[in-house]
């Protein structure tokens, strides 16, 4: 990614954040929707079928433990709707993957919804989200 395009993306992100904060809408900035659309290719996303485990309150936004799991998934994308850049991670499961699950630790800039979208073997998409209250944000700055 070039320096210029990253800057553009960042400024877009903060603009979206500002609008979201003003309107008082808690979830789904357009960047998150864009990321979901890029992942699904515009297909319908059904709620449920994915389990997203995240703490209700995270004291330190620098390391928030999360776990995603979706039986029968080929890929799961994790997005943080309130971060300057919503992408967090994409888990692609291979033939030797056991239960389709993964845990990691993520950074969250502020209190926000974390979203997981799973692509299933039959080509459908499922979604889950969890609200995480962040005491100290984890994006530096």
């Amino acid at each position: 990614m070039s320096e210029v395009s990253r800057r553009t993306v960042l400024s877009l992100g903060s603009a979206t954040l500002a609008i979201t904060a003003l309107a008082g809408v808690p979830a789904f900035a357009s960047l998150t929707d864009d990321s979901i659309a890029a992942f699904t290719g515009g297909a319908d996303v059904v709620d449920g079928g994915v389990e997203l485990t995240a703490p209700e309150i995270a004291e330190n936004g620098n390391t928030v433990p999360i776990e995603v799991s979706a039986p029968g998934a080929v890929a799961i994308i994790v997005l943080a709707s309130g971060n300057p850049n919503p992408g967090v991670a994409t888990f692609n499961f291979g033939p030797l993957s056991g239960s389709r699950s993964g845990s990691t630790r993520i950074r969250l800039a502020k209190t926000q919804d974390v979203v997981a979208v799973a692509k299933m073997e039959d080509g459908t998409f499922h979604k889950a989200s969890a609200n995480v209250k962040v005491t100290i944000g984890g994006c530096g700055g």
Binding site: R6, L10, N62, T63, V64, E67, A80, N83, P84, N85, G87, V88, A89, T90, F91, N92, F93, G94, P95, L96, S97, G98, S99, S101, G102, S103, T104, R105, I106, R107, L108, G138, C139, G140, G141
Partner: protein, 109 residues
């Protein structure tokens, strides 16, 4: 950031054929997000591990794409099926082109 990067992996030494085992991986890396600024207000350039893969005897187990929102010292826990004795191979890909590798043998009893 090719210096001081140390991968650590926890895999059971033995397993039953076809058993699902849990694997934990951790690698020391500062995962500079590209969002932070130094003392002079200049943005510190992004420097992260952008991909992590685990394979068993050449077959893929998991392939993760990492974004800057992954914490310092990226940690992953996941499950794998072990059909026969063999070796897990773990690979991390750095933004700067470095590749970090480690492997663990598993014996099927």
């Amino acid at each position: 950031m090719a210096k001081g990067v140390k991968p650590r992996v926890k895999v059971p030494k033995t397993a039953a054929a076809g058993e699902t085992i849990t694997i934990k991986t951790l690698i020391s890396h500062k995962m500079e997000s590209g969002q932070r600024k130094d003392g002079d207000g200049n943005i510190i350039p992004r420097s992260i591990i952008n991909r992590f893969t685990a394979d068993f005897n050449g077959q893929n187990v998991i392939d993760v794409t990492l974004e800057p929102a992954i914490s310092t010292n990226p940690y992953f826990q996941f499950e794998a099926v072990v059909p026969e004795s063999g070796e897990f191979k773990f690979t991390w890909y750095d933004d700067d082109g470095s590749v970090y590798e480690t492997s663990k043998k598993v014996a099927v009893e």
